[in-house]
């Protein structure tokens, strides 16, 4: 990048650790005045070697490792990993376990979107937003904590089911939190709408069109904000999503404001899903009956084969490609995180904008560098 520099241009490095972006990565910007002429992302500051570690751990140990891909979506990562193994084993969790998983994954989506929105507020100088959302997120985390016993990394899913049943009185504790959140989401919306600075910093900024988003491989809310109704929960239903009523939230503008609106509406849908689940959840066993899978999961060998399983993460399409050679450890696990292509799409999106908009665009993508740079 330096070689191309003209006399009136300069290079600005954002990061490796910059308040603009959670997680270390470096964004090199070539600026002419305030305009971004060129941009380049440098990854590799976190690289945990998750894929190599997974090859050397048993399947059960793998669950604790995939938790660490991104702390915001530990449960969705577990769902993807466990889903792969279940497909290879040819088993399916009973209905009660499936409902519990959906409940936890939707709670997980809520807390991830809340934190993402708060951080986005912070990036564009709307600092009080972060304080509002982090408070609501605490309530959601408390609910998750009641079930899994942990706030961030849960190791809660097991092959064929879940580790524990819902605690007594969970529904009674959850419903007031959800009702409060419904009200709060409307407050957020009103706050965004009534704030002129917010609107001027987000509307018409960082516009992604549907065609460009598709060609960049973007998924999740960033894609749905361009009008493409692509959601794995609908396109390729897993667990009990097929039996639940919810709609895929889309917007057409494709700008920063649209991405935030999609997340707001998705939170409403998540609450709706949770209410249905809490009403409909059937009684029954947590693990398939007549199988060895259960509380004492045996150290097990998984039949040889390969599988590609994907789930809808709060950031988009989370997929894992797993090869088993018939032993107790996976032969190969490829993690296809949703933020990897979105982060890759950042430079084309910010070229031509001003340096002040870089934070808004990058923040509205709701990134998790740790997950891209696993």
């Amino acid at each position: 990048m330096e070689e191309m520099l003209e006399s009136n241009e300069m290079i600005v490095h954002l990061g490796p650790q910059h308040p603009m972006q959670p997680g270390p990565f470096r964004l090199n910007l070539r600026l002419k005045g305030e305009t971004v002429m060129d941009a380049e992302v440098e990854l590799g500051y976190i690289h945990k070697g998750i894929e190599k570690i997974l090859e050397n751990k048993t399947y059960l140990q793998g669950i604790t490792i995939v938790d660490r891909i991104c702390y915001l979506v530990a449960l969705t990562n577990e769902e993807c990993f466990v889903g792969c193994v279940e497909k290879l084993l040819g088993i399916e969790p009973p209905a009660r376990s499936q409902y519990i998983r959906v409940i936890l994954e939707e709670l997980s989506r809520l807390q991830s979107h809340l934190l993402g929105m708060g951080e986005f507020g912070e990036f564009i100088g709307f600092v009080s937003m972060f304080m509002y959302t982090i408070k609501e997120r605490e309530d959601i985390l408390t609910l998750i904590d009641m079930v899994t016993g942990a706030r961030v990394t849960h190791s809660y899913l097991k092959f064929g089911g879940v580790r524990d049943d819902l605690p007594a009185g969970f529904k009674e504790k959850a419903l007031p939190v959800l009702n409060n959140l419904k009200k709060v989401i409307s407050d957020y919306e009103e706050m965004f709408q009534s704030d002129r600075i917010y609107r001027e910093r987000t509307e018409g900024v960082g516009i992604l069109t549907a065609d460009v988003a598709k060609s960049l491989g973007v998924s999740g809310p960033a894609l749905r904000a361009t009008g493409v109704p692509f959601d794995i929960r609908k396109n390729e239903p897993y667990l009990v999503y097929e039996d639940l009523d919810f709609k895929v939230c889309t917007e057409t503008a494709g700008d920063c404001a649209a991405r935030v609106r999609v997340r707001l509406n998705e939170m409403r849908e998540s609450i709706y899903i949770l209410e249905q689940c809490l009403d409909q959840i059937p009684n029954g066993p947590l693990f398939p009956e007549g199988t060895p899978y259960g509380r004492r999961t045996p150290v097990m060998r998984v039949p040889a084969g390969e599988v590609f399983h994907r789930v809808e993460d709060p950031r988009g399409e989370m997929g894992m490609y797993m090869i088993s050679d018939g032993t107790d450890k996976p032969y190969r696990v490829k993690v296809r995180g949703p933020y990897f292509p979105t982060l890759q799409a950042l430079p084309p999106l910010i070229i031509g904008t001003t340096v002040a908009d870089v934070a808004a665009i990058s923040g509205s993508m709701d990134g998790c560098t740790s997950e891209a740079d696993r």
Binding site: L43, V228, D328, K334
Partner: protein, 158 residues
Amino acid sequence: MDAKTIIESLTGKFPEAISETGIESPIRIRAYVDKEKAKEVCQYLKDSLQFDHLCSVCGVDYPQRNELESVYHIASYDHPVVLMLKVRLPRDAPEIESIVPVYWNANWYERETYELYGIVFKNHPNLKTLVLPEEMLGEWPLRKDYEGFPNKTARNLV
């Protein structure tokens, strides 16, 4: 578009290049492709069969067969079928044409596969390390015979 139609269309168009096709479920299909034809097949998938969404590119090491595989998972924003397209490459000189001109987002996936497995993607616009330091280039950490990792972890748990 259903799985059977896609397989028939692919084998009809590239009878020499496509082999070992299979339908694992209504939304999961697989095929091997000759390495010379991989890019052309990808272009056909994108233009004619609505496979406009590249999910991932990755490598797999098979030291016993002395082979590496480059595996492409290609899906669509319009239909639910995911195609697993695999290419066999010799382990001592793994080279394949880059598919970045077809799928823009293959760029980082190919860079990642290159630094972790040593698979060279010819005509890639910027084939350099992505997540590892440059000094590690040539060590290919995800190959099975990589020595810099304690491979014995948890081996005796069975």
